[in-house]
Symmetry: C2
Subunit: 446 residues, 2 copies
Amino acid sequence: MEEMTAEIKKLIAREDEALLQQKVDELYPADLAEVLVDTTEEETEVLVDLIEEEKLAHILAEVDYEVEKKLLKFLSNNRLTYILDEMYSDDVVDLLGALNIGQTKEFLTLMKQEEAEQIQHLLGYDEESAGGRMTTEYIAMKQDKTVAESIQKLRDIAPEAEMIYYIYVVDEKQELTGVLSMRELIAASPEKKVKDIMHEQVITVNLSLDQEEVAQIISKYDLLAVPVVNRQGLLLGIITFDDILDVIEEEATEDMHKMAGNVEVDVEHEGEVINGVIRRLPWLIILLFASLLSANVLEFFEDVLNTVVILTFFMPTLAGTGGNAATQSLAVVVRGLAIGDIKSKEILGYLWNELKVGVLIALSCGLIIGLVAFIWQGNYMLGTVVGLAMIGNIITATVIGTAMPFIINYFGADPAVAAGPFITTLIDVFGYFIYFSLAKLFINYL
Amino acid sequence: MEEMTAEIKKLIAREDEALLQQKVDELYPADLAEVLVDTTEEETEVLVDLIEEEKLAHILAEVDYEVEKKLLKFLSNNRLTYILDEMYSDDVVDLLGALNIGQTKEFLTLMKQEEAEQIQHLLGYDEESAGGRMTTEYIAMKQDKTVAESIQKLRDIAPEAEMIYYIYVVDEKQELTGVLSMRELIAASPEKKVKDIMHEQVITVNLSLDQEEVAQIISKYDLLAVPVVNRQGLLLGIITFDDILDVIEEEATEDMHKMAGNVEVDVEHEGEVINGVIRRLPWLIILLFASLLSANVLEFFEDVLNTVVILTFFMPTLAGTGGNAATQSLAVVVRGLAIGDIKSKEILGYLWNELKVGVLIALSCGLIIGLVAFIWQGNYMLGTVVGLAMIGNIITATVIGTAMPFIINYFGADPAVAAGPFITTLIDVFGYFIYFSLAKLFINYL
């Protein structure tokens, strides 16, 4: 792709319009979208003029806010009217969602009244809910239609709909009564009625369902699309698999960032220095103050530290290993809860299992560090204290690392937030307390 | 779902076959697959007898190895022959891939010769490559067929194919020459030839492409399926979007686990204690030894530690904050590289940007911890040393956290592996070195 971008930039510089037009026509919208991330304002202007409206509609559905702004600058109202008409409603909603209210209103005036009203309606739903993700370009049939009639209707409206492979069957009140796939429609005998071949049991999602759960349903049942209904069972829209692919990627990214302690999530681009600072600093400062708890524990044991300075040498290893063990347990539970492989009810079984793993790991690491301390400093009591501290530390870490996500999940928060940094800071405190308590106990032999 | 499982278990206990059969018929394969995760051997036997073969084929395609084994135990060779015939080739490959060679051979003898040969062929590809993921139940047409003939052919073979919405066009040598969607086929006039309406530019993937890259392509171009070709351009199979949903989830899970330092990845189930230990202990031990580097740094500064014990109090905060800052930078780059939002060439721009963020964060945190140290211990020189150490520490952490994934990526390894624990261990070493070097410099004023 980087070569493609370079080549296009070269053609623009050379003002070779003929070859440029050919390249632009050859490229898929998704590719052009990538090229447009790296073009200057001047280059963008040249390109926008060469790309046909239908392709621009696809491109605008792909790109993020930055590129969107760049593109909109060079589109006349005339072209924009055509483009908005070409775009599916969920993509228009995404596009307008990024603009301010004044701009949004201006855009809505460019659309047909009926469509503008629909879009305005969709803009009212929470962005991350089924309502905010759905498109209204689905195919619905009345149940008394025959297979032949349905195929004819499909042929007529195919270019308009975002997903034509599922046909939803509704009654007069627009209530969803069944579904059938194009595969079934095409294999059925033409004179049969739709209601005789449809499936009456339909997997649906409610308007307000969170997008992550919508993704889980689409993925579990391997659907191309899922219909969105309100409480009365009226069909309002559909969510297609390709939007769900994006959701799954987004949510995985979000979880990973939360685990790393980034407050907000977005891939950062150059020039966003202040945003980067604002995003990260709050957590760092909270954690900084949390870690001062460890400083208090150390002050509490100042006499021990004063007497036996070599105890300090093993602080990083104890704290580090405890934190690592906790993070390992944590990752298993956080991800398991996120993709639904672990149920929140299973906490006790999980804790028990993790505890067994934790004890074995603790014994192994305790033995190793104990031997290292003994051999290095030639002090068998030091080895014993460091080894025992490691054992206590890892067992505590495993229990906290396993239990914490369940607890946070129970209170309705996202377990990924709890993760990594916060827990390791907490475990430091316990770890140092165990270590220096043991040391104090055996201080006369050290 | 948990209620559904409980209800079914109750019906089995009550031996209410009629109601049980009704429930089983009502449930989707994906739901039955979930129920079967929690059933005992006896319950499984009862259920398997009640589920029809077609549904069992879908269930076997969904469940993981544990459940698979449980189910296979209660299936006669007769039923199995029917089920294997019903399953798509990629799912059969997954199923057989989990068995040992003897069992695999036994299964292959149950299949039709032609299919068995095909499966054997597929089993030869790397599990995580396009070849290992593809199915051979696609729809291919010759380019001279008319639209009407094609629709008729579709009607006949629809039940066999895994994906009938993309029709691939091949020449006599089975070389892929074009593609068209069922949507386009159905909208075209019946007498037209396939070659006149097909797209000649087809997005394909090579047999050996990694599944993560296949996922990126399907997601980028919003495809329902992508054709798999060999170097000669011969069409060998397709990979459908639903398999890709699984890949995206798997890969995100894998990345998260790698970042947490779990060597191998799988949601852990009860009774897998030894596996859990084997999976986690190696990394922990490697990191334990790595952290002893910090111990060496501390020993090197033993005299400083002996003189000013209060320096110890700030060790956890310095190390912790440095580690957290590094992890934040890391998460942005690792995830960005994984989903393709960051290109490996962009390292310098990124580093520069992160450095700016890092300096601002470092100054803020340095000021805070410096003030805390000064106020707490009433020693302005201590405040200065701790504050300066924090600044140096965070800047180092940011640079290492940003650069490391790029470097690891450059050498062809997965940047997620490098992550979290390893880098924080490394940063501890630098952090302590900076801290105690500064302390040594100012030792007379502390």
